[in-house]
């Protein structure tokens, strides 16, 4: 009798546990959308992780916020704006191009340009003048070689 009760209790526990996990599977479409937005956002607690990947409590809370806002019918842009208002452009993995970030976006191209200019300059400087006259012994050697070829 006791054993049966124990089995029943354990079985009930299993059911309870299964129910707890339900919200995730309830709406896979919504959850995919939550995750897509969360991929765009940086977790401020562990800064090299996205909110989608992080297990930090703040990331869990922010995913919950995204889910709620989607359920309220907010657009992806509205949700991103909500995050930027609170945490700044730093939360975006793709920061917008504006006056404070143009160096971030343009910097690599500036460096590339500078390197190209440097390369061109140094190649030009190194180029040997084409019309350098032959020394006497060089001329002699050239004639000899040409002469050998003829014969």
């Amino acid at each position: 009798m006791h054993r049966l009760l124990l089995v029943l209790c354990l079985a009930w526990l299993g059911v309870a546990g299964a129910q707890e996990a339900r919200p995730l599977a309830e709406d896979p479409v919504l959850e995919a959308k939550v995750m897509r937005i969360a991929e765009e956002l940086r977790c401020l607690v562990c800064q090299n992780e996205t909110i989608a990947a992080s297990h930090a409590e703040l990331a869990v809370d922010l995913r919950k916020q995204i889910r709620q806002k989607l359920q309220q019918g907010q657009s992806e842009q509205q949700i991103l704006d909500f995050m930027v208002q609170r945490y700044g452009d730093f939360v975006l993995y793709r920061p917008p191009v504006k006056s404070s970030t143009w160096l971030l976006w343009g910097g690599p191209f500036l460096l590339l340009g500078a390197a190209l200019v440097g390369l061109v300059l140094s190649i030009r400087r190194r180029r040997v003048p084409a019309s350098m006259p032959l020394q006497r012994d060089e001329a002699e050697r050239a004639r000899r070689l040409l002469g050998e070829e003829k014969s």
């Binding site: 800064q47 409590e57 703040l58 809370d61 922010l62 609170r86 945490y87 452009d89």
Partner: protein
């Protein structure tokens, strides 16, 4: 001699950038809320959960909002300083009890002292998100019009209090 000049210059610039980079704290993200109105809230008090405290109730005074929790280890570091500041009576400190359990929070205050005029209960951390909180403890300086003037992330140190927070409070009160 001249050909060493350019590499040396590049090296000096790199050392400059790296040197500055070493001194920066990557964990401190500048808050976009500085000089913006504090987000509105209305939360129950920790000591009297049936009473609500809202942002409007603080209008007309300069105050500090200190985000804390009983589970937060770093909060214990700054706490004696806050208790001292509260007893000096320079500026009212309000607490935001962030994602905490009420009984544990009360025990914690009993053990370490209570520097807060009142603590607001943010059990779900929603108001914390509105304030852009990402690491407890955090401290905000809010002016008479309810505008956030400064945010400090991490434990308040005596230096920060002396050199930044107190002069700012004095200026805002003038």
């Amino acid at each position: 001699m001249k050909r060493y000049l350019l590499p040396l210059l590049v090296f000096a610039v790199m050392v400059g950038f790296l040197g500055v980079g070493l001194k920066l704290n990557p964990r401190e993200v500048p808050s976009p809320l500085i000089d913006k109105p504090a987000p509105a809230f209305s939360l129950p008090r920790l000591d009297a959960p049936d009473q609500q405290l809202a942002l409007q109730d603080m209008k007309g005074k300069v105050w500090l909002l200190n985000v804390w929790a009983s589970w937060c280890v770093a909060c214990r570091v700054e706490h004696p300083l806050l208790v001292e500041l509260a007893s000096a009576g320079v500026v009212p400190i309000y607490g935001l009890n962030y994602k905490d359990k009420r009984d544990e929070a009360l025990v914690w205050l009993g053990r370490h002292g209570n520097p807060y005029v009142a603590s607001l209960v943010d059990a779900e951390g929603v108001v914390g998100i509105d304030f852009g909180v990402y690491g407890v403890p955090e401290t905000f300086v809010i002016d008479k019009e309810g505008i956030i003037r400064m945010k400090h992330i991490g434990p308040v140190t005596p230096e920060v209090l002396r050199d930044t927070i107190l002069p700012l409070v004095k200026k805002l009160n003038a």
